[in-house]
Symmetry: C2
Subunit: 489 residues, 2 copies
């Protein structure tokens, strides 16, 4: 059956101009491409619509497959957390209490104790981890869940990028030793790296400064994706929790010698909503979405171009092309409706980001060919019917290679070395990511934020060692880190 898409654009004559006004472009596209409806009557909460939610489901599936291949068990913990469990780890509650939603009543009754909606699930999961883990034979324990998260953001909310309800996947692990936990941090980073690579995203992998680590963690590593408006978008984080939580939740195991020890833990989260935002923001253009083939709900759209007297033959040939592509396991639709002209259909499916369009006109019919148009470059090629399927598959690879390279190029161009406060201000104000020598003092970080108009010290590179080359940008004392400064969502 034909894949149906409701066109939400009816009567909405805005222009898609990504470079001119990113926010308008982004919000307009979310609306028109059936991704998110922002008119839900509660601030910071939106309805996910069909086209967008199909993409979301594919991103989740791609991630979950990798997590389960590496031994993470799927679980689902309740959305409500009792106040006493939440309050156990001092740094954790301090970090989150200002932004939790509280349930105080049910029906007409006041609850005995308040419940909060999960802002993250450490304090939901770890009381049960204490039951699940008894001996070294129970370790490592590795679980994951894809759920909605609730945070009462007090800053202005933004669709997908900063919501009060958003989707993420969180993984939680427990181990016998710090070495094992360290290895797990690297495994988590590896899984996310693979997913982001398949989505063609580029980012900086940064170890956060101590003052910005996850509340309760020993240290945090984060994936900061670039965004066209110069703000970075944190799409994933990986935390080494040490024994901070296992001590307060009394998660212990008996080792081979019969000694009871605390487990060492890690947790990591990949923001599904923010990853979708990054895919849209990094790859999209003035025609609309540009989707990586792996997550595109429709990978190939076939548009017949009927020609007087040859309509029947062109439709029949189009059906044959459709069958060949479909039988190869490619998600495809034949758009043979007569409600739109071929040109309108081109615009329509370009907006929805369908990676490849097949056009079939009288010349194609005659020569037993088809015309392929790739969404990323909008370039056309003609291939013979016999080469159809391999050509489409090669195009998918070419598209991914191109998206990845273009995204990486933008990231690299957006990084600017700055050696003084004026240059810092200019870089961050000019939508760049500033690279700065820093002494690691909180004071200088605060000063940097002030000078950079809200640009924050996001951390130093985790994957590449970068040695300071100059004194601290602010205090001029010896610098111990090269760090990246940008405004953030």
């Amino acid at each position: 059956m034909l894949f149906t898409v409701t066109i939400a654009t009816r009567g909405a004559p805005w222009k898609l101009e990504k470079d001119k006004n990113f926010s308008e472009w982004f919000d307009g596209l979310l609306f028109s491409a059936n991704i998110l409806d922002n008119r839900y009557p509660v601030k910071g909460f939106s309805a996910h619509r069909g086209w967008g939610f199909r993409i979301v489901k594919r991103i989740i599936q791609m991630l979950e497959e990798r997590l389960e291949e590496t031994g993470h068990e799927p679980v689902m913990f309740p959305v409500v957390i009792p106040e006493d469990a939440f309050a156990k780890e001092a740094e954790h509650i301090a970090g989150f209490q200002a932004e939790v939603f509280w349930i105080t009543h049910a029906g007409d009754s006041k609850l005995d104790r308040r419940l909060l909606l999960r802002p993250t699930s450490e304090t939901a999961m770890y009381p049960l981890f204490a039951y699940w883990i008894r001996s070294h034979a129970d370790l490592p324990l590795k679980v994951h869940q894809s759920v909605s998260i609730y945070r009462y953001e007090t800053k202005a909310t933004r669709p997908l990028l900063r919501m009060r309800e958003f989707l993420w996947n969180e993984a939680h692990t427990a181990h016998t030793s710090s070495e094992e936990a360290e290895k797990q941090v690297r495994e988590g980073i590896g899984i996310y790296t693979e997913v982001f690579k398949r989505l063609g995203l580029s980012y900086l992998l940064l170890q956060r400064p101590d003052f910005d680590k996850f509340a309760g963690a020993v240290y945090s590593v984060a994936f900061d994706a670039w965004n066209p408006d110069g703000r970075v978008n944190q799409i994933g984080t990986v935390h080494n929790l040490g024994e901070n939580f296992s001590k307060v939740f009394e998660i212990t195991y008996e080792d081979v010698d019969g000694n009871h020890k605390n487990v060492v833990q890690t947790c990591y989260g990949l923001g599904i909503s923010r990853t979708l935002a990054a895919v849209i923001a990094q790859h999209g253009d003035d025609h609309g979405l540009v989707l990586p083939p792996e997550i595109a709900p429709v990978q190939v759209v076939i548009v017949p171009i009927p020609y007087k007297g040859l309509e029947k033959e062109i439709y029949a040939y189009s059906r044959k092309v459709f069958d060949a592509i479909k039988n190869a396991g490619i998600r495809t639709i034949l758009d043979d409706s007569e409600k739109m002209q071929p040109g309108e259909k081109f615009y329509h499916w370009e907006m929805f980001g369908v990676p490849v369009r097949v056009e079939i006109g009288p010349k194609d019919l005659e020569a037993k060919c088809v015309t392929l148009s790739r969404r990323d470059t909008l370039k056309r090629t003609t291939v013979s019917f016999d080469d159809l399927v391999p050509s489409v598959q090669t195009l998918f690879e070419d598209i991914m290679g191109n998206l990845r390279a273009k995204s990486q190029e933008v990231l690299e161009k957006s990084i600017v070395d700055v050696a003084d406060v004026k240059a810092l201000r200019k870089a961050v104000g000019g939508k760049k990511i500033a690279r700065v020598n820093w002494c690691e003092s909180q004071e200088c970080a605060d000063k940097i934020k002030e000078e950079a108009g809200g640009g924050e010290v996001r951390g130093h590179r985790y994957d590449v060692e970068e040695k300071p080359t100059k004194p601290c940008l602010i205090c001029q004392k010896p610098a111990s880190r090269i760090v990246y400064v940008a405004r953030a969502y």
Copy 2:
């Protein structure tokens, strides 16, 4: 890699006796087979564990595929609903207000207006439906979502069967006419029927009496699955909403003649948690779970039986068997760990409900055979290596046929015609479903409930016309319906 399962039974010496004590059997199995952990520190909320959640994901996928094939768009609406939207439809709020969770605060602030956690999503979705639907060209609108639902149950909670947080899929549709809505009710019933058939479940399809229809519906049809303890388990419901909601939410469309009309709506929900409960309760036995192959996380387990001097050969042959089954696209594991004896492995995987076990001992090795043991009957057969894959596939079909037939047989045997109050009491008290002639008055239904020790009039058959044969069981006036009476979850 080997599929890992944490064995939760360690040191739990209870016996699985389904017929003797269903509740103990059910709760014990949920715990031991890694389905649900009921020790979460909030009443009515449980943690889903790895084995069970893998099954859940397969049930959801099976259902969603059918919904999307029939044109239902996947969506996801917020978990919070503002009080004013919830209060719009009078019957709806009356039906649900006693059991909703209220969010009143966020961080340190009191919210301007209270938010509730979705007890069902009509009042979340329909304000946006009013934006989405303008013209007859926008209809039918069909959406679905798989989400968690929150109801403050005041009766005793029961794992999977009656929780304060549970999983379901809900579909919502809008149409131009009552006829279209009627057709949609039948489509919804057809989709659920197909899913339940593939799970081998049996149930009564009943139109609920007026006093028990969904709050806000014109009428409700429900799937009541039998449960071994005699209570019925409502696993799905389909509602014709008429214009009840479209009037209060002002969901109108312009017809071909330019007239503005209210849409006619339907909605239907399939309880994922309760469907899982039904699969466990209807098919399970004293050895543990019995899973339909389509939803089994592992479909075939291979257990080598090492024989002195032939260990190497047996393991090598087992690996060959594993590869052959895996390459056929069957989910399989080779349990070659040396921590358990073969007999222990048999018990272990039987408890987890793996449909087929392949045993490989010295005789199998010598004859180039394998021994297949099917989980439903525990019967063994020997087949040659060359017949391995087709034999396993045939076994899957045989298992499903058997599960379906056995379940249907139990249902049919549990229905008892009763003609007086004494027989009613005996039937319902004896874990049966009573078939009763009824005059359709609320008074007589109340009296039935009283006499039947809580057994309720669940409704008359929707799919089969059954004409009353006797006067009303209670008032002896002419009966207008044959209805089914049972206690319910």
